[in-house]
């Protein structure tokens, strides 16, 4: 298998698999399930092969394929992978099988097919480097997610699905319009070329010259275009105050879908910030740094506080997700918004923050997905009940369950030795010297996270056993196998983060250098 085919196969396999399974009749669920697992496993193998063939010493794009697609519009089939993309591809390749296995055994073929299509969308987003091509997958991932929520979600699924779809669609439209404007001005849709233009300062000049808004200054025009792109990503991550769709969506979506939403889809937004927004709009990132940083602090602190007020386990974890991605945004804004700094000192800090962001993205993906997986186990045992105060004392009857979920929760709190700590430490290390007040303000989030997650453990696991759950079964062998890879990763990446950082470090160095220009 030629290395250049990896990225194409990565998208093609789940896409093909998804369409095959769409054609399977409703009754043959077992077959559909097996096929879905086979396809996702195949895609997983391709991801592993790409990992094996990936050269971690190089920060440049690898496995690049660039073929003309619609030459008249400057549209190429352009894919490539660097350390950032690889981390996201590996995360997706890990989470989709987990989600497929978490989905109920009698899940209809359509549900599995949609999950595979979602995987194709995710892989496409993380590898495509031309706007047209990339946007196709960005939107492709939205459609299966919408149907997954709409068809198999909780009681309020209709409203949640619509809100999710419309809200993200508004973001996408803003994004699309901005890129149309960029295309009209420059005729380029290629991210790499656009970043080049931006570095040289030509992008802003082109936008001002060719868009024909004489009454607006060049800076304002660029800022408006920047705002459109920002909105698209800010909704996706989400950034406060564009986050209100998220708790409802995560709570109403079937839990296997929530695993993908929080584990992988939320990373699309942060990925967009790193791959697209920051390189193409470096000047605007700098100008808007202060408000953006405070929005990130708001995301971190207010979502943690709001999590404490929730009673539904899924809503608690949803807010916790917002909080954790807030740290990523803090790192991105601190790194992208800072000036060059004296003698490249800022580059060290920038590299720390960016490393932290990528590590946090990966680790949050694993931790959040496995936490929702545990919630689905609870739902299965409790007929869909999942209130924080509905249980109590479960540790007595389900010690393994509580032990393993406790490990994941402590990883989420950021306990050293588990995966969550490394990312947060690096982000704070970088952000503290680039944006000290924002970093200091964000530490409040670290505290409140501990408060609400420990309260969760106290109410669900500890105290006297609620007699209603005397028959609460401990983890079955199958369930243990399902969460095992995630738990192992939580330990491995907590103790030996080099396993992940080794892949991304060269990319981080390149990005830090580019952000400094």
């Amino acid at each position: 298998m030629a290395a250049s085919l990896y990225l194409t196969l990565l998208v093609a396999i789940p896409l093909f698999g998804g369409f095959i399974i769409l054609g399977i009749e409703e009754a043959r669920q077992a077959l559909a399930r097996k096929l879905a697992l086979v396809f996702t496993a195949l895609a997983g193998f391709v991801a592993l092969a790409a990992w094996a063939a990936f050269n971690p010493a190089s920060g440049e794009l690898q496995f690049v394929v660039k073929l003309p697609w619609i030459p008249a519009l400057g549209v190429d089939y352009f894919v490539g992978l660097d350390g950032l993309g690889l981390a996201m591809v590996l995360l997706t390749a890990l989470l989709v099988p987990m989600a497929l296995l978490t989905a109920p055994r009698n899940a209809p073929p359509l549900q599995l097919a949609l999950m595979l299509l979602l995987q194709a969308g995710l892989f496409g987003t993380f590898t495509a480097l031309n706007f047209f091509h990339w946007f196709l997958f960005w939107e492709l991932s939205l459609i299966p997610a919408f149907f997954l929520i709409k068809l198999w979600g909780g009681p309020e699924r209709g409203a949640a699905a619509t809100q999710f779809f419309v809200y993200t669609m508004v973001g996408s439209v803003a994004l699309l319009l901005s890129f149309l404007a960029i295309f009209l001005a420059t005729g380029v849709l290629d991210f790499i070329k656009l970043a080049d233009l931006a570095q040289k300062g030509e992008l802003a000049a082109d936008l001002a010259a060719k868009l024909g808004w004489p009454q607006l200054s060049a800076g304002t025009v660029s800022m408006i275009i920047f705002g459109g792109v920002l909105l698209g990503f800010a909704v996706k991550v989400p950034l406060f105050p564009f986050h209100t769709w998220l708790p409802a969506t995560y709570a109403e979506a079937p839990t296997s879908t929530t695993m993908l939403l929080t584990g992988a889809m939320s990373k699309m937004g942060v990925y967009g910030f790193l791959r697209i927004l920051a390189p193409i709009f470096p000047e605007q990132m700098r100008q808007a740094q202060t408000p953006l940083l405070w929005l990130a602090v708001g995301t971190i602190v207010l979502s943690a506080a709001a999590a404490f007020a929730q009673r539904d386990l899924k809503r608690i974890l949803a807010y916790s997700s917002i909080n954790h991605l807030g740290y990523c945004l803090l790192g991105v804004f601190a790194a992208a918004g800072a000036g060059a700094g004296a003698v490249g000192v800022n580059n060290v800090e920038r590299a720390a923050a960016l490393s932290g962001v990528i590590v946090q993205m990966f680790n949050h993906g694993v931790t959040a997905a496995v936490l929702f997986c545990f919630v689905s186990f609870i739902e299965n045992r409790a007929d869909g009940l999942r209130g924080r105060d509905d249980f109590g004392g479960l540790r007595k009857v389900a010690p393994v369950f509580c032990g393993l979920m406790g490990i994941a929760l402590f990883a989420s709190i950021g306990l050293p030795g588990l995966s969550g700590f490394v990312g947060e430490f690096l982000i704070f290390k970088g952000a503290f010297s680039l944006a000290p007040w924002a970093a200091a303000g964000s530490t409040l989030g670290l505290l409140v996270t501990a408060v609400f997650l420990l309260t969760l453990m106290q109410r669900v696991f500890q105290g006297p056993l609620n007699p209603r759950w005397a028959g609460f079964a401990d983890l079955t062998f199958r369930e243990r196998l399902l969460v095992l890879p995630a738990i192992v990763l939580i330990f491995v990446l907590g103790i030996y983060p080099q396993a992940l950082i080794g892949l991304t470090n060269a990319t981080v160095i390149r990005m830090a250098r580019e952000f400094a220009l």
């Binding site: 809100q163 419309v166 809200y167 406060f240 105050p241 986050h243 209100t244 769709w245 708790p247 207010l302 979502s303 506080a305 709001a306 404490f308 007020a309 580059n347 060290v348 800090e349 920038r350 590299a351 720390a352 490393s355 540790r395 007595k396 009857v397 402590f410 306990l415 050293p416 030795g417 700590f421 490394v422 430490f425 690096l426 704070f428 290390k429 503290f432 010297s433 970093a439 200091a440 530490t443 670290l446 505290l447 409140v448 501990a450 408060v451 420990l454 453990m457 106290q458 696991f461 500890q462 105290g463 006297p464 983060p497 080099q498 950082i501 080794g502 470090n505 981080v508 160095i509 830090a512």
Partner: protein
Amino acid sequence: MNWIVQNLWLIPGLPLLAAGLSALLKQRERTAAATLAIGSMGLAFVLSCVAFAHTLGGHGEETRHVFNFDWFQLGATSLKLGWVLDPLTAAMLVMVTFVGTLIFIYSVGYMAHDENFTRFFCFLSLFAAAMLGLVIANNLLLLFMSWELVGLASYLLIGFWYHKPSAAAAAKKAFITTRIGDVGFFLGIVWLYSETGTLLFYDNGHGCLEASALTKLVSMTVGGGVVVATAISLLIFCGAVGKSGQVPLHVWLPDAMEGPTPVSALIHAATMVAAGVFLLARVYPLLDVDPLNIAGRSTALSVVTWVGAVTALFAALIAVAQNDIKRILAYSTVSQLGFMMVGIGTGGVAVGMLHLITHAFFKALLFLGAGSVIHGCHEEQDIRKMGGLRAHMPKTFATYAIGMMALSGFPFVFSGFWSKDEILHEALHWDESHWPFYMVALGAVLTAFYMSRQMCYVFFGKYRGTAHAAAAHDAHQPVKHEAKPAKGKKGPQAKGNHAPAKASSRTPHESPDVMTIPLVLLAAFTILLVLVATPVWPWFHGYLSGHAAEVRVSELFAWDKLSVIGLSIILVSVGVAAACWLYWLKPVTRADSVDALEQLRPDVIGFLKQQCRVDEFYEATVVRFNAWAAVASDFLDRWIWGGAVKAASLAVLGVAWASRFFDEFGINLGFQKGCDGFAGAGGLLARLQSGRIHDYLRVIGLALTVLVLALVWGCRS
């Protein structure tokens, strides 16, 4: 490099391995779990002794050996971790592993009837691993990581009897309260890292505690004349305040007594809570730098001294009014930690560390003794329901008395006397203020008082616990034996074993050898430590600073030492005499009689009994604020930000409806009319096109007539 330096990681590594292995053990494999834990801890003790021997006889900086390695790449650099072997590390290692091993052995007896025996030893091993990791760390980050893991182990062990809501709440409170301090500590770490580019303490001149980094830190200010070094020191001190239970973050430590007593002895008396003091001793070079550049005097050290002095007095006051045997000891621990802080702040590393080490021995002894008492009195913890135990538990009494005398500071043969004496001495000679000295002196009086009071209540007089009271107590507080039905094969069996013992005697009984032998050993060391702690042969000071100590008997009779020694003796005597006057001369006879002191000043003692209502104060402020912030954030989300979105979507819907209305009833209707009009007109016109020649000719004729008339009319005008 020496073998032990390269393999120092084995000391925390062995308990960690034991923790990992016993996590996989089944509930009934009790012997295996205990063997693993005690064996690994014993081995760690042996290795610690080897390490200790390696640090003996060195001079100055030679005594420090480091081993550093890359943890992960960080841009163009890498983050290095490492461990350090120096006298400070070695002394702590030996203390932690020795006390730890004894407490592990004791636990075999104390926890014998507990259903989760295996899990208990797993957590204990995890704790030991983290604590030892903290001690050997040569990197502030590694120290912080171990620090947090120690906190985790403490959380797990305080909440060990998780089915008790009070234990679960205490565990959470401990974790969160210490985390408040840790947030400051964390910021201090990232700040230090940013300024110096390294977190290694010692790295051949490049470490953050070495001259070049310190010079840099003291040359920058953060505004208001505060140098960066001071700011970072104070942030790091926040961590120590949380972990070592200093005011205002002391509230978790008394509640932590919900954990099993060996846990209180090991974690909440001897080792973990002392980690804050150890941390300050470790980063002392950083605390000590100040623009004025006087050794042992800096802003940061002043803050440490004041906080320590306030804590020492405040906690001792509260301890006077408590009736729970463990709670008295807990407040005593808080108070003694304050003494250590004062020692560090005024006298430097050796003064604080000496009290840390001696305190570890006698406080572990006291807690284990208290555990033995509680065990012997059938899980009774209220000292008013004890009394006269001297006769029933002679070994416990004798060892407890030694611990009590060491803590109170009985002169000469008890190590506690000398270590406390030294703190008083340094505080007296502190040139900034005398108030800290007055505070710790009063604290020393109170210490002697509350410990004597406790002795009178527990061991003297008559036994006041009744079978009835004990039975009632067992019924409402099923600590370890009941509340654990069915699950696991050992549960019912264990209960069965213990039940006859309970039924046969309601009188107190002495604990088994597995519990008393550790007591005897700890008592022996409490006294033996005197050998290295006196001013005559200040071996410990010399060891920590890398100088050989000389025997100087004359030192003892120098006026400034002798005066403080005399003062110490007076302080202790006052405290003991007051307690004897109140509790010995008029022994307490009934469990429900009002405390002698409370009869004197019910208002003051009542307030102290309620622990100065600090918990209530936090409940009314911090906790309420947190709850309020949560509700406010939730409200903002649901109604303001979410509301804005909903309003926008409603507006869009409104526009859509309006446009539909307009389309259907406006445009469509108009269009319809227009169309109808066209159709009508078309029909009209179509009628004209009838195809009948006569009609056409008629129209043409008519038109011609009109045309002719019009022309004629036009010409005429």
